[in-house]
């Protein structure tokens, strides 16, 4: 049974008075524990598909739907439920890290836990959550950078903090948008090793990239061109 089913997804953006279709009936199924790479050039619509799959945006009305674990389609979820879905079910890793500069490394990692658990829930679980965040950072080689501010970290370190942040609530699915796009080769490889480890834990990974070499690390690669997905090729 597939973990994620995206069926006939369309998305149109309005630029001024012009409607620009970005996705034109894209469909894909992702098996539980699979590492899927969506390969495409800039502007092909792959990031838009990832945002839709992560519940950050909704497909066009009347187009298809995205379903996780045979649950309710994302576009029919109430706003609150969709917020909780983003918090618990998926973890995002962005190309530009998007760490909050005022917070320390460990606080950035803990953000998702604070949001998901609320004031009292977080206060009750604070110690275990901090231990988990520190464990994640240690596992990603950032043990000595826990209290540092993001601005003092290298690009690779920042992206590893972003990975730890995505994992804090132990989501079954990781959505990564060009995670190596802003890293040099060595840091990119190191990050992909981390992704391999996550994949090894049984987590489902969907990674958007324009880099064939990066995509080649995935179990399966689907190509996106002009808002449509081509059939995938497996390893």
């Amino acid at each position: 049974m597939p973990a994620i089913v995206a069926e006939n997804i369309s998305k149109t953006f309005r630029l001024g008075r012009v409607d620009v279709p970005v996705l034109r009936g894209a469909s894909v199924e992702v098996a539980e524990g699979e590492w899927l790479a969506i390969l495409g050039s800039s502007g092909s619509g792959k990031s838009t598909l990832l945002h839709l799959m992560g519940g950050l945006d909704r497909p066009d009305r009347g187009s298809g739907s995205i379903t996780y674990f045979d649950d309710r389609p994302l576009d029919r979820m109430p706003v609150r439920t969709l917020d909780a879905f983003r918090n618990k079910t998926v973890g995002f890793v962005f190309q530009f890290y998007h760490l909050l500069p005022e917070l320390s490394v460990v606080e950035n990692v803990l953000l998702g836990a604070m949001i998901g658990r609320g004031r009292l829930g977080y206060a009750a679980a604070r110690r275990s959550m901090v231990e988990r965040a520190e464990g994640l950072l240690d596992g990603l080689g950032l043990a000595d950078r826990r209290r540092a501010r993001p601005i003092t970290l290298s690009g690779g370190e920042r992206q590893r903090v972003a990975v730890a942040r995505a994992l804090i609530n132990d989501p079954p699915v990781i959505l990564a948008d060009e995670p190596t796009g802003n890293l040099d080769r060595a840091n990119g490889d190191s990050l992909l090793e981390s992704f391999s480890a996550l994949h090894g834990d049984g987590r489902t990974l969907i990674m958007v990239t324009h880099d064939d070499a990066v995509a080649a690390r995935a179990d399966r690669v689907v190509s996106m061109y002009d808002g449509r997905l081509s059939a995938g090729s497996g390893r």
């Binding site: 945006d57 917020d83 983003r86 998007h98 909050l100 005022e102 917070l103 998702g112 604070m114």
Partner: protein, 503 residues
């Protein structure tokens, strides 16, 4: 939880929120200082209005109230009334001989009975020349002559003369009556040093001439009367208007000068006639026939009620007492010709004007303080724009729209709380030192913002209570929250995808 963490970090790591907090601080301090001074001004006005005339004033100007002694007895027998005192009031000219000429000024001359007048108005507390145990708060250098123990006998004597308006008869001293002068009567304010006391021009024991125009019982003007008085002491009520234009003399003296003392009554139109004795042929003037005694009169009777007595009830009681009194004394003015006013009625125009002025000033400053709302709005608008990506990240991590909105509203509340706390601190500091600050401005820059001639009181009054602090604090915090609402809604409505792509 994340809102608390981010609020704390946003607040301490950026200059913009500190500027917003500074703006709030200034607005809160301004509101509180203005309210405190205007409120203090009003309170002082009300207090002084009451302390200077008591609770109720029964008056019949010029003609006066005959048999007032009986009225006093009736008033003081009432359970609602603590004390009553007769006074005679007249405007006159007083002149002080100085080297090379004399200084003349017009003055309200009040004839008082010091003992009862003190019970109604606290007159003895206002006497200026008396021994002081401690320097006044403003007397930094303890230079006040009243602290001088070597002259303690003089201060005690002056205090005694001021309190009694009498001095023991001595053969070697002419029996000149005593007077107590308002401390500003001869414009000595300019001569005061920073300690607040009169440096020179020591007036006590000097003589002044008082000129008044007496009237008869019908209000007709008689010949002017001049009389010499010795200044026994000076008084300082703190109300410039009073201190600069009032003097007290013994009741009997002014009654005598104004022909309001007890006298024989003769037939109307009666004049001395030349009579020739038919037996001796001796010529002599025969005085008109005495038909009775004209009772002494007082123009005003001041009444002090019990502290818990309702003012309106007290006035009705006094009116009833006066009506009963006038029935028994046909010579006393009929009730409809007598004005019986509460101290509030007496000062109604002024108090009403000050109340309106206070409300107006508060309104104007309230409008000015609205700038803090717009300032916070502008700063928050800019900060939300700057933090667009943060909003996108928070939404991607599962933060709800309301959660994001609350983050910014909470942030506004935090800026409001910090600004308000600092503003209250600043206001307390200024208010508690407002006269010292004013004095310093006067010395350093030559500024005199508070002119006693305009504002009645010689010191800047202030009245700060917990209720005012709470109201201004709540308004300060709420206005910041209001200023944060629109940017908060904007942040909450942001499309997370656009927010993440924002450059």
């Amino acid at each position: 939880m994340y809102q608390a963490l981010l609020t704390r970090r946003y607040l301490t790591r950026k200059i913009m929120p500190l500027l917003a907090a500074a703006a709030v601080m200034l607005c809160v301090a301004m509101e509180l200082i203005v309210w405190s001074v205007m409120g203090g001004f009003l309170e002082e006005l009300i207090d002084s209005g009451r302390s200077l005339i008591g609770d109720i004033e029964i008056s019949r100007s010029q003609v006066g109230i005959a048999h007032y002694e009986d009225l006093l007895l009736r008033l003081e027998a009432d359970e609602l009334i603590v004390a009553a005192s007769p006074t005679v009031e007249a405007f006159g000219l007083i002149s002080l001989d100085i080297a090379g000429g004399s200084r003349v000024t017009e003055c309200l001359i009040k004839g008082i009975d010091p003992e009862s007048f003190d019970r109604v108005t606290g007159y003895r507390q206002t006497l200026y020349w008396k021994p002081l145990d401690e320097p006044l708060p403003t007397d930094t250098f303890a230079a006040d002559p009243r602290l001088d123990e070597t002259r303690a006998d003089l201060w005690e004597a002056l205090q005694f003369f001021g309190e009694s308006l009498e001095r023991p008869e001595r053969a070697d001293v002419p029996p000149v009556p005593l007077a107590v002068l308002g401390i500003e009567v001869f414009s000595k304010r300019d001569l005061r040093d920073p300690g607040g006391f009169v440096q020179d021009d020591f007036l006590t024991q000097r003589a002044i001439t008082v000129n008044v125009l007496p009237t008869d019982t019908t209000g007709g003007i008689l010949e002017p009367i001049a009389r010499r008085f010795v200044i026994a002491n000076e008084f300082s009520s703190g109300v410039y208007e009073i201190d600069s234009s009032t003097m007290y003399v013994p009741l009997g003296q002014l009654q005598d000068m104004l022909k309001m003392d007890e006298a024989e009554r003769v037939e109307r139109g009666g004049t001395p006639t030349l009579v020739v004795d038919p037996e001796t042929g001796e010529e002599r003037f025969e005085l008109p026939q005495t038909i009775g005694i004209e009772p002494a009169r007082a123009t005003t009777v001041l009444v002090r009620g019990r502290d818990d007595a309702d003012l309106e009830t007290l006035r009705r009681r006094v009116r009833m007492i006066y009506e009963d009194f006038s029935l028994e004394h046909p010579e006393a003015p009929r009730p409809e010709f007598v004005s019986i006013l509460t101290w509030e009625d007496r000062n109604a125009t002024l108090i009403g004007a000050i109340r309106k002025e206070t409300a107006l000033v508060m309104f104007i400053f309230g409008v000015i303080s609205l700038t803090s709302v717009f300032l916070v709005l502008a700063i928050f608008w800019s900060m939300v724009s700057e933090r667009t990506k943060d909003v996108g990240v928070l939404r991607a991590l599962g933060a709800s729209r309301s959660g994001v909105a609350w983050l910014w509203i909470r942030y506004g509340l935090a800026i409001g709380a910090v600004g308000t706390t600092l503003g209250i601190g600043l206001a307390l500091l200024v208010i508690s030192n407002i006269n010292a600050i004013h004095d310093w401005l006067g010395r350093a820059l030559g500024l005199q913002i508070w002119d006693p001639a305009v504002y009645y009181f010689t010191r800047i009054p202030e009245d700060l209570d917990a209720a005012k602090v709470v109201i201004v604090a709540a308004a300060g915090v709420l206005s910041c929250m209001l200023g944060a609402v629109i940017p908060a809604v904007r942040a909450a409505r942001m499309d997370p995808v656009r927010a993440l792509r924002f450059e």
